[in-house]
């Protein structure tokens, strides 16, 4: 009986000692993700709208195979959107514990450059290409935004 009480006491002491260590460490909580960044989430939405507007304008105000659809008419917008995507990539890549969001941004940037180069090389772009490119970017931005918003839920 006496030995079981001693054993219980010992367990409690060991546990409290562990708890004390944990309490000291508790100030640095478990972190698997960076903190949520509301301004970055806003920037993702803005970049998404830029691409959506770019595609909608192309489909609405120019016809495939005509001079209106020539690359040089859209070169400025391509550069502007590339800068927005590059900014997202850079801001994500410098945050610690952020490899997933960084990779999503990298994919978006790579695809944007690929689609720009295609338009440049071909001189024009078909409605079909615009429609599928637009859809791909809509879904990419959904992933980017979801990843950012779940960081808020982790806190």
């Amino acid at each position: 009986m006496k030995s079981s009480i001693t054993c219980l006491k010992m367990r409690s002491i060991i546990f409290l000692f562990s708890a004390a260590i944990l309490l000291t460490a508790a100030s640095c909580a478990v972190r698997l993700l960076p903190d949520y960044d509301a301004s970055l989430a806003e920037e993702i939405v803005e970049a998404s709208l830029m691409i959506d507007r770019f595609c909608a304008d192309m489909l609405e105000f120019s016809r495939s195979g005509t001079e209106e659809r020539a690359y040089h008419n859209f070169a400025g917008a391509y550069v502007e959107i590339e800068l927005a995507l590059r900014s997202l990539y850079l801001k994500n890549s410098v945050r610690p514990l952020n490899r997933h969001s960084t990779r999503i941004c990298e994919i978006a940037l790579d695809l944007w450059q690929e689609y720009r180069d295609e338009h440049k090389e071909d001189g024009s772009i078909s409605d079909g290409e615009i429609i599928i490119n637009r859809r791909y970017f809509q879904d990419l931005f959904k992933s980017m935004l979801a990843a950012e918003e779940w960081k808020e839920r982790a806190q």
């Binding site: 004390a20 508790a26 409605d127 079909g128 599928i132 879904d139 959904k142 990843a147």
Partner: protein, 104 residues
């Protein structure tokens, strides 16, 4: 007196609560992702059949599809980490609160 069994029971209960609530949302996200993938592939095939995409572009977009899906899997990875982080911190909080109560 510190009761380790009670502490562990509370920790488990906290983790269960978190995982139960968040898992439902993650599961919903996964369903949405699979649905979006289905829609993208249907759109891609439709555009190709209608002749709005050349074979070269169709094949290149099919390759790109893998990257979009990869991005979606990265988003799911973030969600899973968010749940794990929340659960781990909830466990620490239970332990901290209980140990504090004993020390007082």
């Amino acid at each position: 007196m510190f009761d380790i069994n009670e502490a562990v029971a509370r920790m488990i209960s906290e983790v269960k609560k978190i995982v139960k609530n968040d898992w439902k949302d993650i599961s919903g996200e996964v369903t949405d992702i699979l649905q979006r993938r289905k829609e993208r592939l249907a759109l891609l095939t439709d555009l190709y059949i209608k002749g709005e995409l050349t074979e070269k572009r169709f094949l290149s977009r099919l390759e790109n599809e893998k990257l979009i899906f990869e991005a979606e899997m990265h988003a799911i990875a973030v969600m899973k980490k968010a749940v794990a982080q929340k659960a781990a911190n909830a466990v620490i909080k239970v332990l901290r609160d209980m140990a504090k109560a004993v020390i007082r």
